[in-house]
Symmetry: C2
Subunit: 366 residues, 2 copies
């Protein structure tokens, strides 16, 4: 069985590291209590992650290596992220520090199409580092950006990319900008023989980004740039492997997205983007989120906000059956309680525990 | 002029807060030194962010409110994230804690289509909180999951969602699972009159997710779930507003993605997904990344790895012209140096400074 090995840094007490790592191995695969997972031989053998090693570092933090059967990833670019770090990314005491995909996963995702060799061929640069700069700032017209590019090209810079903040603005439309910069690059190439590699920035929803790519390629762009952590890695993969025929540069914008406060991310951003209901990990359960944060998330989802529809708060993250009534009282009527593994905890009691859940919510809401 | 107000928490010295906030206002819009931005009246007036207020909290951290002209967002779901927190998310001393979009942005993004009211109508639940659970664990067959759903439905649970780990696995294909669970829901509805709302999980690249949505809607699914922070928020927006006719639940999986170590995210994940060149913020510049991290990113991008093409390391993030030669020696030949604002620093010296950049790289590479 091929294994995907993932390495985590744990910040807690070294004495708890083994149990913490076991909990991650379950969270990232079956997300039910261990006895529930172990009831089925196929699941126990082929699905659940296994803790392979735990090392304590000199600073007291621990490195846990967990091996996941690669089949759990379905060899899919989105599911892979879910298996590596989906729910576990919500635990403040864990970071994901390394991974070691098996050959089948590398083959499925396929990696760079051009890479270093392709970019060297495209630019004609060998035996030295390459030079790159950006046309900017945001606010310039296509003509002003093309003028900048012309100067950079005359100086002999190898690659000139758009600033990652250049989108499809009224004052500088994408198509006009790309056409002007490509024309400027050709003009300098005719003058000096140096054809700078101009790299347009693509930004937007998938439909927009794929449309921008088609336009850029049609106009003669020989490479493009996107911010994968802004578009989402699965969209990035599809761009690289299903749409682009030219090399793709990755920009780091938005890669530190965890630093959104939870009441902003879950309470406002997801609502603004269109979530009808937002599942979040709450104070009751295994994630230890403060009550005040949960109250703020719920309030933000339900508040008056420029006429946007309210979004349904869905607290989850390990609510125990015994806590249901209290949780209902905390969030009030306009909420949906998500109780998962707790219902399956006792063999043969699924219907009873499910009925108890329903009764507790009805009772507390009365 | 309509303004997008964003609130940041700063962890540094309160005496530096004003300068820090000014730097963010530039970073998130023009990303050039202030004198460069201020040369153009249109850019100074209509593009650059403005620090509106700074408050010091009792714990010594500061809250800075910055107002951005809404035009910088191009009213685009991806560009909005770039303006709010793109590069600034890479600074360890800043978190993004709140935002206040103007009406035009709310109108453009549009928010929930069904929301609380629509979900209440769909489930027929009024005057109390709703109940929700998940069919799981990963590893069960479609039939086993449908059996679970049947029991939950008989207990009267309102909403049963897929576990977010259920993808399109060989042992449990998406289409078979959705069809089996929808049939089970209908069967219990016929028996008991209670029609549970079954919510399939969609996961994959945009093409796959939109295909799964079409299949689920065709089969009669009345709601779906995705993990927006795994798919990427722009893809999530397009799903909600350009593809889905049913309500969409948001799952928090992968929302803590910052906790990826930089050498993993920039060195390995982006390469595996297909980046031909990876821009990252390096030790030289304004982000203060350790040299060892930079070396590890570059090594990971270029190492032998299951036959994947090497990806070109592109250190950036404010390299100064005077540091170029040293940076080239640090990363070696297989790298591309990204020098941006520094080239534009001196008015009238663009060509000279660009030539100096090119010469420094060529000289250091010789």
């Amino acid at each position: 069985m091929e294994l995907l090995r993932v390495r985590y840094r744990l910040e807690g007490n070294p004495a708890d590291a083994e149990a913490r790592a076991e909990a991650i191995a379950l969270e990232q695969t079956v997300e039910v209590p261990k006895p529930v997972a172990m009831r089925e031989p196929f699941i126990a053998r082929e699905i659940v992650g296994r803790v392979e090693s735990i090392e304590v570092s000199s600073d007291g933090s621990q490195r846990a290596t967990i091996a996941y059967p690669v089949a759990t990833t379905a060899l899919d670019p989105a599911q892979l992220l879910g298996v590596m770090f989906g729910n576990t990314s919500l635990h403040a005491d864990v970071s994901c520090v390394d991974f070691d995909p098996p050959a089948s996963l590398c083959e499925a995702l396929a990696g760079p199409r051009a890479g270093v060799a392709g970019l060297r061929e495209l630019t004609g640069v060998r035996g030295r580092a390459l030079t790159c700069t950006a046309v900017k700032p945001l606010g310039h017209s296509p003509k002003a950006l093309a003028d900048l590019l012309r100067t950079f090209a005359r100086a002999g810079i190898d690659v000139v990319k758009d600033d990652q903040g250049l989108a499809n603005h009224e004052f500088c439309p994408f198509e006009a900008r790309v056409a002007a910069c490509l024309a400027a690059a050709e003009q300098v190439a005719d003058e000096t023989g140096h054809r700078v590699l101009y790299v347009p920035n693509l930004i937007g929803t998938p439909e927009r980004v794929f449309g921008q790519l088609r336009f850029a390629e049609k106009c003669g762009a020989r490479a493009v740039m996107v911010s994968p952590m802004l578009l989402g890695l699965p969209t990035f993969w599809e761009l690289c492997h299903r749409h682009a025929s030219v090399p793709v540069l990755a920009h780091p914008s938005h890669a530190g997205a965890l630093r959104y406060a939870p009441e902003l991310l879950f309470g406002k951003l997801l609502r603004l983007y269109g979530a009808d209901a937002v599942i979040f990990v709450g104070y009751a359960g295994r994630f230890g989120i403060p009550r005040a944060t949960c109250a703020a998330i719920a309030a933000n989802l339900r508040s008056e906000w420029h006429g946007l529809a309210a979004s349904l708060p869905v607290p989850g993250g390990g609510i125990e059956l015994r806590d249901v009534a209290e949780v209902v009282r905390f969030y009030g009527h306009d909420a949906m309680l998500l109780v998962g593994g707790s219902l399956q905890l006792e063999p043969g009691q699924l219907l009873e525990r499910s009925c108890a859940f329903v009764d507790a919510v009805r009772g507390a809401s009365a």
